[in-house]
Amino acid sequence: MSTSAATGGDVVYWDPYRPDLGKDPYPTFKRLREEAPLYYNAEYDFYAVSRFADVEACLGNHETFISGRSDIMEFMREDMEVPKGMFIWEDPPEHTAYRAVVMRVFTPKRMNALEGMIRDYCVRCLDPIAGNDRIDFIADLGGQLPGGVIGMLLGIPDEDRDAVRDQVEASLRTEEGKPMELEQANLTGENYEEYIDWRMKTPSDDLMTELLNTEFKDATGTVRKLTKEEVLIFVMLLAGAGNETTSKLIGWMGKILGEHPDQRREIAADRSLVPAAIEEILRFEPPGPSVARYVAKDVEVLGQVVPAGSVMLNLIASANRDESRFTDPELFNIHRRDPPHMTFGRGIHSCLGMALARVEGRVVMEEILKRFPDWTVDTDNAQLSSSSSTRGWDTMPVFVG
């Protein structure tokens, strides 16, 4: 086993549950890339790849590394039934048919067209706190804006968005040091049922109405509309996906720019640096640091056979710091001229909402820097949470000025 490659009897160990490792996983990731690029963890029975090329190859090979048993390793252990329409956890041809329904909605052009609306929402969050000497990137912004935006897109009423966010967060959170429980994930979408019923009676120009009316060719080749159950799943999936990860992007923005004042001031002085700064934040601290695949058939990885039935964890956060792709990868540098990061994944399941996340990130950075060009992180009161699928700040309080 590759773990034996470690030097001096000090064998590299990693799992996604230990808080001490989750706090700063990067030294461990570096050792994994060097000492055990195909890592096997016997305690939780999973494999992990950590180098950029290996993660890219794995995520690109959707026939061997399948998503049909979810992309969260705890859930793969259970004999879970993935509901129809939960396309992130389906394989072709079902995945292809469902994703095509929403593919054209989340494209760069459509998302850029939302910029004005996103900016208005952002300004509404920030103006009331503009004079404060303390702000919290999560409570004041990250916890509000992404859910508000996806809610507006979908047509979920404003007053219910907090409840939606809380439910999604609860479904992804792990108790410290422990794997996730399948029972906590609510996969029926029943929370949204009343909105769907309401939208069926009172159509609007929102995405929910579009989902109810769009005709698509399903996996059997039949042209039809989505069933109500499928629309429910779609809405739940999009509301959840558009919320948690973008919130974490905003939290990381507060943390990283807080700790790199020179680069922050550079961006504040030259707004054309904002898009590159967003990409560098995404590379440096991906809100989704790892994603799992189920191994559908025996496959050779780095000279070893990984047997069918295994769980393969793709360490995206490690790939983003691979020395063979990025110059001085452990440095935050908005001026880097390296090839792109892998934060949005790769292959047919790569993040559908990437264009939306980028617009939101850009707008947030611009509006923050307009009002708060300088801040310092209140490290004592910033709380990190980390699971096998997400990693980021529950609170990111900062001292302004």
Partner: protein
Amino acid sequence: MAKITYIARDGETLVLDVERGSTVMRGAVDNALQGIIGDCGGACSCATCHVYVDPQWYDKVGEIGATEEILLEEVCDPQPNSRLGCQITITDDLDGLVVRLPEKQV
């Protein structure tokens, strides 16, 4: 190998040797060319490898697939010669291909 010329919006030109079987997107990303992202790695899913194919080459780069056609309506500033770089596979016939980059991908 085929020589592929990538011309950025500001006129900056880069000529890359790209392997047969690779793609216009892959050739750019592997060489850290700024201006092509290719988030999905070539699965025709993300629309971030948009290029304008030089009109002289347009008929030689292959047909547009159904998914690509949908995504090409949704890129920033689509033009009649727009293509997704991941859907143009490099062959010997494409030696000398010229593509221009859009103002932005996202």
